[in-house]
Symmetry: C2
Subunit: 375 residues, 2 copies
C-alpha cells in the first residue's frame, strides 16, 4: 500500500483551512502539534517523543504554509512539499524560535488563530508563547475549531490507512491463542502482543492496554501487571497500532479456559450494543443518538465516560459518544463504538470496533467479531 | 527488578517541591503532563496517548497532592498513594474539569505555579486554562523551574531503572546481526528491532529512529523507508526503549559488509569524542564544558543542535550539551553524550551513550561500544 499522500491532497487541506480562515477572519493559522503539522505537510517522525524543541507551521490566508522548525528537522521537512522552511538551532535557551516565529507571523499578518478548543495543547512554553504574542504585535485568537473540523472528515486515502491498521491488528488478534495461556504473566502477553502487531505490519504500537480477571477488568487504561493468567479469566487487549501515521483502536476479549456464563452473556450484550451503535451511526444522526442507541442496552456502560470516539491520526480525536455531544455525523468520519458492561462491581467487559460513516449507513473498518474467543 | 517506588520516595519528592514553593512564594503547584503527574503519584498508563481528556495534579504548600482527573482514571489512581482523588466524567463539552479544578485551587490557595519554561507544554485547551484562571480568582505564575530542577536529579532507584532500560537495549543491539542483512528493507529492520527490544524486556518502544547509507545518514529523526540495506552501508539504530516508565536513549552503528574506510575513521572519532565527553562530565562542570570537550573533536558535529541531553522519564529532558547551556552538572543527573561527524555533505555518523554524573566522575549506564560492528 502506498505511503504518504499526493501533494494535491495536502494542497486541498490547506485550501480548506484557508476557506475557514477567511470565513472566521483569521489571517494566519499557527499549529504546533504532531498531527496538526503532519496534516498539512506529511512530516512524519517519532521524534516528537522528545519534548525539547517546539515546532511551528503557519498557514497564511493565501499561499503555501511556512515551516518554522529546529534545524534538526530541515532534512526531513525538505523531503515534503513545503518549500518555505525556516530553521534555528534548537534548543536555544535565549531564543528558542521565538524571534523567528514572531518575524514570520508579522510578515504574514494576523489575527493569528491558534487551536484552543477541546483536545488541543499548547506545545510550547507558556512564557515563550507570551513573548511571541508581544514580539509579533499581532492579535491572537482561537482557530474557531477550523483544525478540528478539517481533521474530523477523512479522505478515502486516510480511511484506507486506518482500514489497513485495523487489518494488521485483526491478524495479530487472531494469533493471541499462541501467546496467552493460563500461567503466562499479563505483562508477557502485552509484550508478545506488541511483537505480533509488529510482525503483522504495524510501524509501531503507541498504545496497548488491557486487563484480565474472572469477571472482566477494573478499567481499560491500566498497564499490565506480572500476575499470571488463570483459567476462567476474561482477557482483554485494546490496541492503537499505527500504520503510516494512522491508528486503529479496538479491542478483543478472550475466554481463558472456561469462564462464568455471565461473562458470555455480558459479551453477547456488548456485541449487540455495538451492532445497535453501527445501525444508529447514519449520516445526519448526532453523536448523542449513537450513544443513546448503545447506552440503552448496557445500562450506561460508561466506565470510560463515553461509548466511543473519533479516530485517525490520534488514538482518539474529535467527537465523543456521550449524552451531551451533539456533533452531526457526516460521511468520512471515522469513529469507534465502545460499549462496556459492569459484570460485577468494579469488573467490566468492554468491546470496541471501528467504523466509517458513509452516505448510506456506516461501513465496518475493523474485522467485526462474533464471539468471545476461547483460548 | 522492583517496579514503582516506595511511598517514601514520592513523599520526599512532594516535600522537595514544597520547599521550592515556599522559597518562590508559590501556594499551589499545578501540573498536567504525563511525567509530571507520574513523578508525584506513580500514575503510569499509556492512556496519555489519548489527547481527549485533561488530567491535573495540585501540590499544596503543605500536605499531600490532590488529583483532579477524569473518572476513567479513578481505579488506577486509586492504587497509588494519593488519597484525595476528585473526578468528573470526561470528556464534558460544557465543563471539562474546569469547575472542579478551579474549586480545588481556590480551596488550596494561590499563587498557582504552572510549569512554563523550556520543554513545558500546556496540556489543556487554552480556552479552558483562561476559564480556570478566571473561575479560581487566583494569581497564576510560572513554577520558577521547580519541576524541572526536581526531575533533573535522579534517585538511585530512578537510575537503576534507566540502567535496566539500557541493558535491555544493549541485548537487542547485540542481536541486530540476526535482522539486518543486505537486501532487507530498512522498514523491516526497524520493525524487527522493536520486536527484539520487546523480547529482551522492554515494556514498550516509544522511540526508534535511524538510517542507512554508504557514508552515513542524512539525519537522526527520519522514519524508515522501504529501501533495502546494501553492502557498504552504515546502518544506525537509535532507540528510546522504556522499562517501568524510564527511558534509555542511545544508538549503535553497524557496517553492512565492507564500508569505506572513512566511515571507520569517523566512527573511531565519534567514540573518542564520546570518551572526551565522559571525562569532562564531572560534578561541578557546566553543560557547555562537556559540549566543548566533544565539539573540539568533531568540528561542531551538531546535526542535532546539541551533543547530548538529559534523560529519564522522557526521551530527552533537562539540560542540553550546547555552547550556551550553563547548567551545572550535579551527582544524580543522567545525560546522553551524542557527538556526530559529517562524513560527506549531508551524510552523518552519530554515536550516543548514556551516563550518570557521580561525585567523582561519571558512571556509564549504557554498555559502552568499542567498534563499528561488522554485519
Amino acid at each position: 500500500m502506498q505511503r504518504g499522500f499526493d501533494v494535491s491532497e495536502y494542497r486541498a487541506r490547506v485550501v480548506a483551512a484557508q476557506t475557514g480562515m477567511a470565513r472566521a477572519g483569521v489571517g494566519a493559522l499557527l499549529v504546533m502539534t504532531e498531527p496538526e503539522v503532519r496534516y498539512f505537510t506529511g512530516f512524519l517522525t517519532r521524534f516528537w517523543e522528545s519534548p525539547s524543541r517546539p515546532w511551528f507551521l503557519v498557514v497564511p490566508a493565501a499561499g503555501d504554509p511556512v515551516a518554522v522548525i529546529p534545524s534538526i528537522g530541515a532534512a526531513l521537512m525538505g523531503q515534503s512539499w513545503i518549500s518555505d522552511i525556516r530553521t534555528w538551532s534548537a534548543p536555544d535557551p535565549d531564543d528558542d524560535g521565538v524571534s523567528l516565529l514572531a518575524d514570520t507571523l508579522r510578515e504574514i499578518g494576523g489575527p493569528v488563530g491558534v487551536p484552543s478548543g477541546p483536545e488541543t495543547v499548547l506545545r510550547m512554553p507558556l512564557t515563550d508563547f507570551e513573548r511571541v504574542k508581544a514580539q509579533s504585535g499581532l492579535t491572537f485568537c482561537s482557530d474557531h475549531g477550523i483544525m478540528a473540523d478539517l481533521r474530523a472528515m477523512k479522505s478515502e486515502t486516510e480511511i484506507a490507512k486506518i482500514r489497513h491498521a485495523c487489518g494488521i491488528a485483526g491478524r495479530a488478534f487472531d494469533r493471541v491463542g499462541d501467546i496467552a495461556q493460563p500461567g503466562v504473566p499479563l505483562s508477557r502477553v502485552f509484550r508478545n502482543f506488541q511483537r505480533l502487531l509488529l510482525e503483522e505490519g504495524a510501524d509501531w504500537v503507541p498504545y496497548l492496554a488491557g486487563g484480565a480477571g474472572p469477571y472482566g477488568y477494573a478499567d481499560v487504561i491500566s498497564p499490565a501487571t506480572d500476575a499470571p493468567l488463570q483459567s476462567g479469566d476474561v482477557l482483554m487487549l485494546d490496541t492503537g497500532a499505527v500504520w503510516d501515521g494512522y491508528f486503529c483502536d479496538y479491542d478483543r476479549n478472550f475466554a481463558i479456559g472456561s469462564v462464568d456464563p455471565v461473562c458470555d452473556a455480558a459479551h453477547r450484550r456488548v456485541l449487540e450494543a455495538t451492532q445497535a451503535g453501527l445501525e444508529a451511526a447514519r449520516a445526519g444522526a448526532l453523536a448523542c443518538d449513537v450513544f443513546a442507541a448503545m447506552a440503552g442496552m448496557v445500562e450506561g456502560g460508561e466506565t470510560a465516560g463515553r461509548l466511543g470516539h473519533g479516530l485517525g491520526m490520534q488514538l482518539t480525536e474529535g467527537l465523543s459518544l456521550t449524552a451531551k455531544d451533539r456533533t452531526v455525523l457526516c460521511p468520512g468520519m471515522v469513529i469507534t463504538l465502545e460499549p462496556g458492561i459492569e459484570v460485577r462491581p468494579g469488573q467490566w467487559i468492554v468491546h470496541e470496533e471501528n467504523i466509517v460513516i458513509r452516505e448510506k449507513g456506516a461501513e465496518k473498518l475493523s474485522p467485526w467479531t462474533t464471539d468471545l474467543v476461547r483460548i
